[in-house]
Symmetry: C2
Subunit: 363 residues, 2 copies
């Protein structure tokens, strides 16, 4: 069977990411990563309807329990976290248990955080069911929940035993969510891999049609960029992993200001444009390359306008609370050129205001 393995290598741990089609129904991928005989599957109702039976079948030799958590970013809270913990305790799960996150990024983040904290950490496995979770959220050990003051403010670094990126699961994904996931793909190409960016320009038709070979190659290339960065700086301490926040400084703010009406990837797509415009302004990125980036985003329906009812003051306030700030300065990742990014704390509010006003004018 056709599948790829990419390894994440950390100081005290390494784990594989399996990428292929219809991996879920084979227990070969799961078995080596489950120690002990207890498994707790965390998922959501719609996903359970589609895939739970298949997964339970693959796990028929284990003692499996299932907990269903509510759907939507607004439920990525300590309440959902508690629901998982309560179920683990009620069903007598021991330290040797394995949690399995079957779902999108929200399921993966809250399940990973529950695994990090249950009895001071148990194992877990990621089976992401959305494009954005397969190429981004499920990779890299960032887990957590939101606080009313902002996203992911409570969490832990806790890496899974393995990740299973099964493109068969993407068949059921709504097109809007699929497209939003492409923003993280484009982001990875922009910060690290010029050739991959060109490839994305060439393969627009195949990718929008979710043609399976193109999809597999796209996901593999994106994951390999992320896995490489995470392997170099898994705790975000060396200013390497920060590069993955390209498009996210403004993106997080817009996502919050839209009250999560914008999908994460959509907000990141706007954030990418803002970061690119800032990059052009300081003479790093050429106008011509900016146009290529804009055209690629447009081709994937990701050249979105600023959110309705955008309020500049709220946007700036939010940024000043963003956890990527350090010693009260804004931190942005900008592009030196396509395929090369750099972290900077030299962006001022004035720079931002200028860019925003251009975006508001639809330029």
């Amino acid at each position: 069977m056709h599948y790829q393995t990419i390894n994440v290598t950390l100081p005290n741990q390494h784990y594989p990411i399996y990428i292929g089609s219809d991996l879920l129904s084979k227990d070969d991928y799961l078995k080596p990563h489950i120690h002990g005989n207890q498994v707790m599957i965390v998922t959501q109702k719609l996903i359970a309807n589609l895939y739970l039976e298949k997964l339970l079948q693959a796990l028929k030799n284990y003692h499996c329990d299932v907990v269903i958590i509510p759907t939507g970013e607004r439920h990525k809270t300590l309440k959902s976290f508690n629901k998982i913990i309560d179920n683990l305790l009620a069903k007598g799960h021991e330290r040797s248990t394995t949690l399995i996150a079957l779902g999108g990024g929200m399921v993966g983040d809250v399940t990973g955080f529950a695994a990090a904290c249950y009895q001071r950490s148990v194992n877990y496995i990621q089976i992401p069911t959305t494009l954005i979770a397969q190429v981004d959220a499920a990779i890299g050990g960032k887990t957590g929940v939101n606080h009313s003051a902002g996203k992911n403010l409570i969490g832990a670094f806790h890496h899974p035993q393995c990740v299973i990126a099964d493109i068969a699961l993407l068949a059921s994904l709504p097109q809007r969510e699929f497209v939003a996931g492409l923003a993280e793909v484009i982001k990875c190409s922009l910060i690290k891999d010029k050739n991959f960016f060109s490839w994305l320009e060439d393969k627009q038709r195949e990718l929008i049609a979710k043609e399976s070979n193109a999809l597999l190659e796209m996901i593999t290339r994106t994951i390999s960029i992320k896995a490489q960065i995470v392997s170099q700086d898994d705790r975000e301490q060396k200013n390497i992993r920060h590069l993955l926040n390209f498009g996210h400084t403004a993106g997080h703010a817009l996502e919050a200001l839209s009250q999560y009406q914008l999908l994460h990837g959509e907000a990141v797509a706007i954030g990418i444009r803002i970061a690119c415009m800032l990059s052009v302004d300081r003479g790093w990125l050429t106008e011509q390359d900016y146009q290529r980036i804009y055209d690629l985003l447009s081709a994937y329906q990701l050249s979105l306008p600023l959110i309705k009812g955008f309020k500049l003051k709220k946007f700036l306030d939010f940024l000043s609370h963003d956890k990527k700030n350090f010693n009260q300065r804004l931190r942005f990742v900008l592009l030196k050129e396509i395929g090369q990014a750099e972290l900077t704390d030299t962006v001022t509010e004035a720079d931002l205001i200028k860019i925003i006003s251009r975006l508001e004018d639809g330029r």
Copy 2:
């Protein structure tokens, strides 16, 4: 000035434990361990009345905020954790902030857990104000909160930047709490250091009078045993750190069944006796050594009876949920002799029932 330093050495981190008298008023100990300019002190009302002013004085060059959490083991919950997180966010604390836990084990555990999870981990410092926290809870990076199903079921391993064990803070400690702390001291001698056990037999008068040289030596020797064990097995993965659970398997159950009317150390003292009786029963510990241990516990008023209204079935039920069990077997640490402990999963319910009935008869 007379003080000792003991280092905890971990795979990716090492940190000092300073032990001395009146260290709190010197900023020399704190300064090298605070990076950034923000500090959040977490403490409780009574402790704040006694020591907060002094600590704020030592930290006068930092931006300090204070959060007061309620007193008592029953408040070691996600609610207190949330109170700390809410305050950090409300006061705009960034990833470079440092939390300082000023209080007993409960304050240290919940503060450490908040530090572990706030923005996926920030630094913290332990300033334990009880004997049990100085020799046990503050050392070793175990952080967490309780769940209605049991103690410390939600938590993380997160080590502090440093620990300041200031014996001047023990002057205000109620005698009952001081004595309870001695149970952890005796435990450390029993599992690792025969000479230290003899020393504790010799120094009863000085220790009960909290004579400062004896106290300093006792705390230093106990911490050095714990630090050595933690340095060898900081994540409790090698069956070394488990030795510190000597007296805790039964102890945790008794503490919970007493609804926390028993102090942790008092419950551990009874647990130590149960573990010693089990050790004698399998021919590991001699009757004579058991008598020495019993006599030492008695001398420190720690040869306590089983709790009032003790229910055997509830006790056994609780043990079967204890997180130190593995693949459904009870795990006990027993003594081969004074100064040498071993983890075993061969203790049966029948063994326990026999011991308990002897304790119930007051033997």
